[in-house]
Symmetry: C2
Subunit: 366 residues, 2 copies
């Protein structure tokens, strides 16, 4: 019940035990087609430009940055937690001009702030993280695609810890590029980064003057393996077992349905906060509308040993609770409500862990 990897659905794990197909064999291409259909549903897009990056969420981040930007171009990074900082690090390594738009941990950006940054810096790309797992904030994205396009920028979004657990509409929101992770709400093992490009993003890629700096993440070539351009060429060897897992994970998403997923995650988030509040615990994120459903940040009360409580939860109940990360280190616990782990019984176990853990430290208020 940390911020991920979450437990995988046993159906997904079992899919990985199937015999390997060849990475360029027609039956495997059919599996890739099915994965793309599943991704289009989960992203809510009709774009043909979806695929899995053979790597974790970090690989998805790096792939988007190196493909969308040429050296010397500008990216404005909405930096409100560790993921903005990391995107800035990656872009800087590729010779991109980075504008680091900082925001206090626990807060989100307003449209006015972003518009001012777009006007001032005229970036090629604006980066935002929908669900920041280091702070537990949920950045609202509606309307931002239009705003970016009006200022000649592309909108790049990180949905690693949010996709499938909260609403996301790639087309309706005008998102241009997005990457996610396999091991959070989607309930598969770590190792695949679902990726989306809009027509606008693809046009930028196809009209580049320089090659993307990384061969491994060159979407002109990866896209050609995934059939974006009508044929299939070898670029790298697809991660056969991992992709079986992703096909199964996406199949499960389709069975439950996105509305069902979003509603279940929201309900469990509310149930958990009801219980936490009754114990006197408080949310790190002040504005209720900014609270992320899939990764919840809980303030560590004065005098409580957060690490000892985590150890107690693991030793007593086999429950993983996480501490803070980056700007929230030592200040919060982080509790994930994600995919296969998002059940009433698991939320109950988290609440029991906090109740008994605080009691063991003589700090239970209620």
């Amino acid at each position: 019940m940390g911020p991920g990897p979450a437990n995988a659905n046993p159906r997904v794990l079992a899919a990985q035990a199937m015999p390997l197909l060849g990475h360029m064999h027609p039956p495997f291409f059919k599996i890739m087609d099915e994965i793309q259909a599943g991704l289009r549903y989960v992203f809510q897009t009709s774009s043909e430009y979806t695929c899995l990056i053979s790597g974790t969420g970090h690989a998805g981040m790096e792939a988007c940055i190196t493909n969308l930007l040429e050296p010397g171009e500008t990216i404005v990074i909405g930096d409100k937690g560790i993921w903005g900082a990391r995107a800035a690090d990656m872009a800087g390594r590729f010779g991109v001009n980075v504008v680091d738009l900082k925001k206090e941990a626990g807060k989100t950006f307003t449209i006015a702030e972003l518009e001012a940054a777009l006007k001032e810096h005229k970036p090629a790309v604006l980066f935002l993280c929908q669900g920041d797992s280091s702070t537990g904030v949920h950045q609202n994205l509606a309307g931002l695609g239009e705003l970016c396009h009006a200022h000649g920028a592309l909108l790049l979004v990180d949905t690693v810890c949010s996709l499938g657990g909260v609403p996301f509409f790639a087309d309706a929101w005008g998102i241009d590029a997005m990457y996610s992770g396999s091991q959070k709400v989607l309930g598969a093992p770590p190792g695949a980064a679902p990726l989306f490009f809009s027509e606008r993003a693809l046009k930028k890629l196809r009209e580049r003057k320089t090659k993307p700096m990384s061969y491994n993440w060159d979407l002109n070539l990866i896209g050609d393996y995934w059939g974006w351009f009508g044929s299939r060429s070898y670029h790298h060897t697809g991660m056969v077992s991992m992709w079986y897992a992703m096909r199964e994970a996406l199949q499960i998403m389709g069975e439950v349905g996105l509305e069902g997923m979003w509603a279940r995650h929201k309900r469990l988030h509310e149930d958990m906060w009801k219980g936490l509040t009754a114990m006197g615990l408080e949310p790190f994120v002040a504005n209720p509308a900014d609270r992320l459903v899939t990764v919840n940040t809980i303030k560590v009360p004065e005098g409580v040993d957060w690490l000892a409580l985590n150890k107690f939860a693991m030793d007593t109940y086999n429950v993983e609770l996480a501490g803070g990360l980056g700007p929230t280190l030592g200040r919060v616990w982080r509790v994930g409500i994600m995919g296969y782990n998002a059940t009433p019984a698991n939320v109950e176990l988290v609440l029991t862990s906090f109740r008994e853990g605080l009691k063991a430290q003589g700090k239970l208020k209620a």
Copy 2:
């Protein structure tokens, strides 16, 4: 029986169905330690600097290049097939000065040729591919480490399709950096690149003036996740299922033993060629000492439709044979003898496929 991915051992596939551990949990670190012990054995090294790159062989290649070289430094690439060409492409994207030392497909480099290139170009790195899967040649590496060091260069080696099937001695041969693949002789699914750095290579990395261009492949950070520097920091989320698979694959390597693996692959290679020769088929690689045991290139005789024969083998016997790649396209078949697939029964099935396939085209000579 193509050049890979080969079938995985069912034990390895089953390992992937185990429940996920957290990527920063002590039990998972123990698995990482065990993987490193297995890698040290398979590489024949006592170096502490081994790990899995979370990606395929291409990722291993890119990781070695971006970590060993700073922009403006020179790499001499022993280019005798598609892998040299690809390494040249990758290095060029990172701003490295590339010397493309070309060699006719089917031939290997002599020590004298390499020495001349080292003297002339004074590179920071010499790249060589031990087993070139596009041409079926085996580059002898003994003595080359010493030669490189005498000229101030590091020796970087690709063993993607050869490791475990033919002798390799990282320490005794003075190799400085090496990457391989999971899905060939090691008998695991595609998705992990075993990697090795010598003390010399690590020193180069630690004394860089610039950061490696890719955050994902930054071995200062990856090494810190694998415990190279005494502690453990989060860099990316380890590919939990894939690493279970690699632990099991390395365990099997230990059970069989490297000498047993090398002897079995050599014997089956000889048995196969005995059968092929009896049908009038000829090796693409003229010099017997240069023939790679794990990927065998067989000349397509005049008037034979190689693609039709491959289709016949697949349709009739469920056996994959491959055509050429890069410089050998249309000129050869490629047959893998690799790991779990390296059995007398499979070699027999390959011979039957050729015999009956040639017969079906009216081209069987013997």
